[in-house]
Symmetry: C5
Subunit: 356 residues, 5 copies
């Protein structure tokens, strides 16, 4: 149920670089390819498994976007790679789904790796899948693992409807739109986490049970995991925004700054989560200490009240022949009064100690 | 009552950039617009909902300051944006009230986002609202959420009275004055927080109760929240002060350095709060441990005193026929003396252990 | 008794910049002004409240040093400011005694803010007062709050006696001497703190009582407070040493490097204090745990010894008619032997557990 | 069994630099030398202890790779050093197997130190041995301690088979392949560690025993140890990738970037381990507190139930002559009912406290 | 016994800079001066208290090394200072033995301050003494406090024997050799510390006693102290290695890089010590908690077993006249069986709780 600490990668040890082996969970469905080519005038769309359709697009002026869902088809990748002149190391990275987010400049194209986050069933955790984007002069290739649905539908809608500037600005703006779609998604995750943290917080202050600390630990792990996916994003996007590659035009950079702001905000929020979660354990521990303290007080009060009384009763339960008190007429009431005095004294003592 | 960890933002996912949707709590009152134009000679003031009045100001030599209170009127924003040539992304950011403080240079104007802090009812917490400032060559636009009153009255007073240099220096000095007004406000918040921390501190050392740890946690959260609002300020204002934009004149930069000093001081203070609050929990836990220890000592003293006595009493309460002590003439007094000896020995033992 | 977390500053909110309002504790005595002018040949000295005497010095070749003790006289400040052409923001900062240490270059003069530390009555804490220095081409202005005596007497002595190079090097060397005098003072504070920490350390290891944790907290706060006063010093003095302003001559820079070394050493020491203090709480908590453990052991030993014995005694205190043991001749001695066996067994058990 | 904190190095104190003394564990087997020379056309291979064979290779155009397994043969090292003109300090560093990973540029050659990690027997810990690589214009020297097998077999296979580009790219690509082989190995270690951490995690949440904390400590130490071996790698490889030495060709740099990515990923993972391990101790401590709490509750419930009952029984066990209750017909049943009421009251009390 | 937190320095407050006052412990023996002059051909050596011998060396081509052991002779220092043209601030720093390690470039010479570490009697702690080195064009002055023996004997031996390059390379190589000798010494300290830490570690896991936490604290303090002495070294030596001063020749820089590596390795190790020590306290605390838990369990088991039994016995010890059970023939055996059932039930309960 929990996220694995490490993805099994050792199988690859010893293979030459650029060897295409899929690392990560394997999924049975076939890969789906969708092709969209557009310019200001119109949109040409096609969804097929036949890549031949996309090859002529390579040399046309329209921007073409090829989206591959499901990355385990190695031949498909190889064909695409040849057609668009992609370096084998890039293809290898697309297959190895445990990459950190990164941005690599290969001159003719930019290679960007991101993580798409989604909520697991029942809102019980965060899953991540790898999104690889390749931005060329007039094309965008995107590769999804395809586990948790396609986040790009709104972008497609905008392309089809020609809303906003998406069709008039170039391939870099399309990449911006895809990144924006992915990062907008993060906010959903953050909201869900925030909700769970706040619920735990209330529970901890009100009435912590033993399971609480386990759930706290799981939340902590998820935040650590999230942090690992999100921190490198900052550098990835800030590099795009500063236009370190000439593939990003100035007009798009302003939009990328917006995405960058979102990224920083997300990182901020994740750090806040960390701070709050580490504070929660302290609350839990102090609540536990408090409880032990309270239990101890009850025990001490009871013991302190009844031990002396039991002793007195025991004293007059002794069977000595010569115990004058036993024969006194008012012996029994006197002992009862003595006991009441002991109780009274103890109560005064407890009150002074502020125990009752 | 507490500050939300995350503002609901997911509703925006998928919309094209620049789409104006208000994010944050929605308030019912209409937006209020006030317009002030001034130069060294005089002040022209107008408060209306009709923006038409401000359009001609655009091209006049006077400095004009348009202050919008209540930002949920999207049409109003759009009109202003068109009139002053503001980028749609800026308008979007003004509406999304969960921005981090930031400074963006759009060439013809500077866009600055700050947080205004205010105390919630009953001095029980800190609320933040977003302040967006746009500084152009001869105009300043300011947008307030309008939740907790307008902090700019002193600035208006100075403008009207012509006190200080405010009317002779340009729009950048006006922006400095607005920022200064906002940041002066932070000191009020810090003083209130400091007071609450000091009260908690005294309480913790003197007589901590169970609720104390809850209040400690709330204070910690507020400081985390404050920190998140204040840290980015440093960079925002230091960039202004270093005159990274040509819209800031050298004469104003000296004043901005003053604001920058204040910002650093505020950050310092917030860090001190953090340090002290994290120390307080340690005190609380050690006080709890101390108490448990004390309770345990009382229990142990009582048990250690009375268990042997009760045993002796029980011993001579046995019903064996042949127990010679029971028939001795001085058996009972002897047992009483034995018991006194036991008590004496125990007291010596406790004293040696420094328990009493 | 404790240092306030925040100085009341909110009163200033809304005033235009450069408004002179004294922030900090107000003291009743009048300000004292002392004027010293010197060159290699001689020293001219005057202590008066009449500033008129200092105005002609402005344009003479001698170096003049005007020291103001007690900064609440606003007129005096204003006169001085006019005479030496000081920016109103500087005067404002001199009055606001909660400044961080800083260094500001105004071209014609350098403005330096430091903290002077002193021990409170009875060596119970650290007090800070603000020292403002203004270094011009041929003049030095120094402003003391005047709470805890004047640290500059040794410098005056050196000036009068012409010892060292103080009279032959310029105003920058005088400023160095003043800063050096202030920072030499810090070592006194550090020694006093170190002594208190070492005393607490011994106490904690030997015999911690409840008050110890309170004193630990107060020491921690003082170190936090000290740190806040001292950290910014590093940057202030390193800037002087690197001769970022042309007012500092190369010959003086070597001496400033010496002061810089001291500053770094002081910061190092304060960090060491922090490390040690945070270790001390751990010792305290583990000592407490140890004690609780010991108390628990005593309780458990007593209970474990006497509960079975008391039970056996109770058993033969039952009043059943048919209890054959009660009529046995050796019943009573047999029970006593049984009890001794129980005690022996328990002692073996405790020994094996290493409890006794 | 555990990794030593410090390797015995003091024996070397006082020797002149460049003195060749082997530091580290000494192994008895003789050193093994293997020589491979190759160009695009073919591979020449030889495994012998006679180094004479490799000397002529020095001046031939083929790339030659000399791999030395077992570094304690000082003469061998000296001969190789003379032949290839290696600085005595480099030879010294090869022998001192407690080096940090580092990269040193000697102009004519690059000296690279890495750590090879392997699992100890029974998967119980991580062992490190030093790998020293020297990259020249047309030669690569590699020195292994030779403790845990040779990780370079896959590289040899690729050389022999001519798979990939390994034979057409130069010596720098060979060094890249060797580094890649070493770093691929790290993933095996990480997977093993991750497995152990996850097992410990489950155990801690489910049913921690006393040994758990010892194992937690050992894991922590291993992660600290790993971190120390891995952190410097980042800088080592990033310097190679940025082509700070002219011995690294541009084509190889792309591959080195890939290795760099892996390094960063490994560091990330190790940091995650640290975070999780430090969280685990907190869980353990809170589980312990929880248990103590539970034990205390049982004790308190029992004591609170039976102490009053025992007292009542003791009361009516007293031997006073005048105790009217003893002679009542319904005295005994009445006392039993009283006892039941006490039990009932206590149960209500415990329920209200949520103890049962 | 412990290292002082702060060296008494306040005595110096107020003195003009360059005043020579010895700070630190004062030692009675006279200072010893040894002079060695050498070039490739031979060595001239002299040990005397008469400095006159060294003055002519100033202007000769040989490299001369003057080593002063015991620095409290102020006249001697002053004479040396005049002869070699040393700045008074440098002489002051040589006397003030609480300097941080530092490197200062005075143009004609470099001033380097290091700490020499040594083990105190009985291997019980680390002592530090100050080593000041002055490197000129053809001379090296070294000043030792002279507390713990002279670490430079191996260097002298090498000079006399002419082993290595020491006589052919210049004064900078001699300084390198001295620094190397000092830093080689650190490894001895680290090994001793590592041994003590490992011993403590085993003790803590096996059987911690109360004194353990005190020893842990002392070790922590020593590591803090060590860290303070070692951290600044990095910068000192890296500056030498980068040849920021022209007094360091390129050939020597390679050797300094070696020393730099050692320094980084030492810092790494000290950081590892810190990490491990802070982990040890956690182990100690959890062991304590564990023990308290165990003690509590024994107490609870005993109380839970015997309290009900004692109550039953007490019940039938009551003296009511009408208690039918007392007259039953099988009353006593029945009660005994009841008690056995109670014991059995409790044992089942404990087993289910996993307490026994």
């Amino acid at each position: 149920m929990r996220n694995k600490l490490v993805t099994k990668r050792s199988a690859k040890a010893g293979l030459p670089p650029g060897t295409l082996v899929h690392i990560g969970e394997r999924h049975r469905e076939a890969a789906r390819v969708s092709i969209i080519a557009y310019d200001e005038k119109g949109v040409y769309e096609q969804a097929s498994d036949d890549l031949a359709a996309c090859f002529p697009l390579r040399n046309q002026p329209e921007v073409s976007w090829i989206n591959v869902e499901g990355i385990h088809s190695i031949e498909l990748l190889q064909k695409l790679g040849e057609c668009y002149g992609i370096h084998p190391l890039v293809l290898e990275d697309i297959l190895n789904t445990d990459q950190r987010p990164k941005r690599e400049d290969y001159g003719a194209y930019l290679f960007i790796v991101l993580k798409m986050l989604s909520l697991k069933n029942g809102n019980k955790g965060v899953a991540a899948e790898q999104m690889s984007l390749i931005l060329g002069e007039n094309f965008v290739l995107s590769f999804q693992e395809g586990l948790a649905g396609d986040p790009f539908d709104p972008v497609r809608e905008r392309l089809r409807a020609g809303r906003g500037k998406i069709r008039s600005l170039g391939a870099d703006y399309l990449v911006y739109s895809l990144i924006d779609a992915i990062i907008d998604n993060y906010f959903v995750i953050l909201e869900s986490l925030a909700e769970r943290i706040e619920r735990l917080e209330e529970e901890l202050v009100a009435n912590p049970v033993r399971e609480t600390v386990g759930r706290l630990h799981i939340l902590k792990r998820e935040v650590i995991f999230l942090r690992k996916s999100i921190w490198p994003l900052r550098e990835v996007i800030s590099g795009l925004e500063r236009r370190e590659s000439s593939l990003v035009r100035e007009e798009t950079a302003i939009y990328l700054r917006d995405v960058y702001d979102h990224t920083v905000q997300i990182i901020d929020t994740v750090e806040t989560f960390r701070d709050i979660l580490s504070g929660l354990l302290d609350i839990y521990l102090s609540t536990l200490s408090n409880r032990t303290n309270e239990v101890m007080k009850v025990l001490t009060i009871i013991a302190t009240l009844f031990m002396p009384l039991t002793f007195i009763a025991g004293l007059y339960g002794m069977n000595f022949h010569y115990m004058p008190e036993l024969n006194w007429r008012w012996g029994y009431p006197a002992v009862l009064i003595l006991m009441l005095l002991v109780i009274g004294g103890m109560l005064v003592f407890f009150r002074r100690k502020k125990w009752i």
